[in-house]
Amino acid sequence: MQRHLISAADLTRDDAVLILDTAEEMARVADRPIKKLPTLRGRTVVNLFFEDSTRTRISFEAAEKRLSADVINFTAKGSSVSKGESLKDTAQTLEAMGVDAVVIRHGASGAPYRLATSGWIDAHVINAGDGTHQHPTQALLDAFTMRRRLVGPDAGLGKDLDGRRVTLVGDILHSRVARSNVDLLHTLGAEVTLVAPPTLLPVGVETWPCEVSYDLDSTLTKSDAVMLLRVQRERMNAAFFPTEREYSRRYGLDGDRMAKMPDHAIVMHPGPMVRGMEITAEVADSDRCTVVEQVTNGVSVRMAVLYLLLGGAEPAVTHARPTEEK
């Protein structure tokens, strides 16, 4: 593995499988009377959040604390006024305090990459979501959830998602979750289809390792997992789609549509859900919907990432990335 986790595209198949396998063991810690491991004792991790995201921060914080790391939370409110200088200055302040890892959430795409490569700091950098670029731990927890549900917690150990068909529906254009998932699911051998109105697909999507469709109904019947992405109501005002009603009718998942999915297929959502927009309450509350599991799995996966990056003298060793890939 590399020193930092910036993009899901940085992970080889072996890296990803190691993380998922490790997360499977981490998940068992949650069943113990003492949900804590001494592994990162004496290591300091900062959660540097330039963007509000209580769920992601709490998930990382739980993971860090279960591994006995010292946790510092830094929430940069009003980051719109404090521009780039503040990222560098804040980073260097943290470095001066002897921080071992920075978990960063930032509204600007590439901010974690800059932090990791600019020479501002030596600490490990873990991307907790940057702009519309990447959110690698989200993709990992999604893959973990899929592997558990579609292959099995024990049966899945050592395995990838070869041949599983995953459909991502919604605002692909503005979604770091979509980008991370396309990269990681492709690495793990899954077949990904993106479904969205053409306005919510980026120019250039044709080069991504996935299929693209404008029609949800035709893809549902051949999906093992359907992941719905949040669609912000503001997008309507920018003419990405005409009305909420029309979006729901064409791209929302309701009970009738869910009934067309294969029996084993699951419904996923990274949260927070906009009920009535991309998902109806009936679907959100059904057994096939893994939203709550995804939250639980998020802690296990983040523990795995923290352990594998920070637990040893250097990041965990897996097979080197083939040179022909970028």
Partner: protein, 428 residues
Amino acid sequence: MSKILIRGAKVLGGEPQDVLIDGATIAEVGTGLSAEGAEVVEAAGQVLLPGLVDLHTHLREPGREDSETVLTGTRAAASGGYTNVFAMANTFPVADTAGVVEQVWRLGKESGYCDVQPIGAVTVGLEGAKLAELGAMHESAAGVTVFSDDGKCVHDAVIMRRALEYVKAFGGVVAQHAQEPRLTEGAQMNEGVVSAELGLGGWPAVAEESIIARDVLLAEHVGSRVHICHLSTAGSVEIVRWAKSRGIDVTAEVTPHHLLLTDELVRSYDPVYKVNPPLRTERDVLALREALADGTIDIVATDHAPHPHEDKDCEWAAAAMGMVGLETALSVVQETMVDTGLLDWAGVADRMSFKPAQIGQATGHGRPVSAGEPANLTLVDTAYRGRVDPAGFASRSRNTPYEGRELPGRVTYTWLRGKATLVDGKLT
């Protein structure tokens, strides 16, 4: 002033000749000229060009003297082989009145390194709403002939039409920064494969091309001439080619960085590659080179845009757009156009001196290297290759995308009206 004999220089890349400067004027060009009473510069096969003319620079004064001043900007220009630069109007305050353009013009005169020709704003405050006093700026001591809201597009079609018409009264030209504002809201880089992956707001080629198409049609309709700043896409080339074939009076410029760099570099998220218009694709780069070679694009202009370190040492979205270019322009043109066989040195003289001087109506610049002409000259060691080291820049800013890159060519001497501003690569 004394005499200077430049011995054995390949004038415009031709056979080695001697050039004798007497005072501010070229006295004689030939072989075996007498060195008597003259300081001798052994050119030893270096290429002698007319002093370069840059139709597009940002010298930042008044207002942003932390990034550049007229003095440091003209020193950078002399280092790069320039004897005349045009300074864009987006200063603080904006150069939209006779007072501001005269100030910039006077600062240029005082610098002594390079003539500075201010460009006036088309609209008040670059806001695109109300025409600035174009006539007053023309009649001022600065004698403004080129008008531009560069940095912003004159996006209102009616304002653009009026500006094109109005400047005909005194032979001015409007230089358009072609960028449809609505299509580029929140834009961070070229829209395409790379932006899709990086999650950076896309800047579509059509935002540039649609404005160029509109403006050449407007120019045709009102019978004016229009100049297109920093053309950056293959589609823009096609539109300009079509317009010229139709007889429309349009000229266009390309920057050195758009001749060399592509949006693949943005994968580093290093804001040193953030520029307006954005770096485009390989296909665009090749189309721009071809267009510069065949004359569809008339000139190279640097769009020299200095920024202080802190405006680039940050995350991409927060960073300022622009690159410095005066001190690397000739090297990049040699790399992309000469060493590739697309253009000879006479062609370089045309694209970087004769034509820009014509478009900007610069007097005394962009003249042939022959007896009786003003001694505005630059000598280039074309055999040199070396890595770009921004620490050696004369510019106050260091935001070059070429740091550490090996490039050919080195300007060794620059003469402004017979006075050496650069001697053996060092500013005087």
